[in-house]
Symmetry: C2
Subunit: 148 residues, 2 copies
């Protein structure tokens, strides 16, 4: 919450934030899947060949978590990034060795009617790989706070 | 993909799946946050007291990942749980020591128009804590496959 952090008054539609790349290793894919999404097409290269994907891919929730990591690196919202929810779409598999980039754009800023010191910012977050292909789209609502 | 797994023909609106509880330890909250959501209110008990939350809470993406884990334990969809996306809403913070339960209900089953061997199942997934409070709502679309 330093002075360089963005408060509700500082946020406007069209502002963009970018971060990455982060490399998604096979070991990281397997570690995440082992904890949170233990399905053969995430856990094991050989088993993945017999699956829908035909090769090992990351859990969509892993992509979402890495997207969050990149957002924390590039979107300096005062009070932190606190999401209330959103829409997520996985458009393409993430594969071992992929390098992910995130671009977030503010698409809405609304002050709260009931609490003047608060607002909600809507962001559209596109996660793409090293070939420029979109792997995930997320539209999320996050809290924003007015200057004290 | 044993015969007890559910194919497109086996799935119907109103079917429910339940799993849990899984305990969310403080160590797990900090480990997830360190990797994917390194914000003070997730990482550190003392720093969290000065935050919006007033106490340490789990990343929403951690709740989402644990929800996925529980879904893999209870929803025996043939071919695995492959989501194309959905809507997520975090209704209440998850705190150290909380024990999460998941209940999923099928709210839609649609065969693909272009590929008869495939369909899309819509599920509503409610994640709740040990007090019966909803902490996350997710509505997701997942692929389903007809019997060969």
């Amino acid at each position: 919450m330093t002075s360089t952090r963005l408060h509700l008054e500082d946020l406007a539609v069209g502002q963009r934030f970018r971060a990455g790349p982060v490399e998604v290793t096979r070991a990281a894919i397997e570690a995440f899947a082992g904890q949170f999404d233990p399905q053969p097409f995430h856990l094991d290269e050989d088993a993945a060949r017999a699956s829908l994907f035909g090769e090992q891919v990351a859990s969509g929730w892993h992509t979402a978590a890495l997207t969050m990591r990149l957002l924390t690196e590039c979107a300096p919202i005062a009070g932190g990034l606190v999401g209330t929810g959103g829409r997520i779409e996985w458009t393409r598999p993430v594969k071992p060795g992929d390098r992910l980039l995130v671009e977030a754009e503010i698409i809405g800023v609304a002050a709260s009617r009931s609490r003047r010191e608060r607002g909600v910012v809507e962001i559209r977050v596109t996660t793409s790989n090293q070939r420029g292909e979109t792997v995930q789209r997320l539209t999320a609502k996050i809290l924003a706070f007015a200057r004290p």
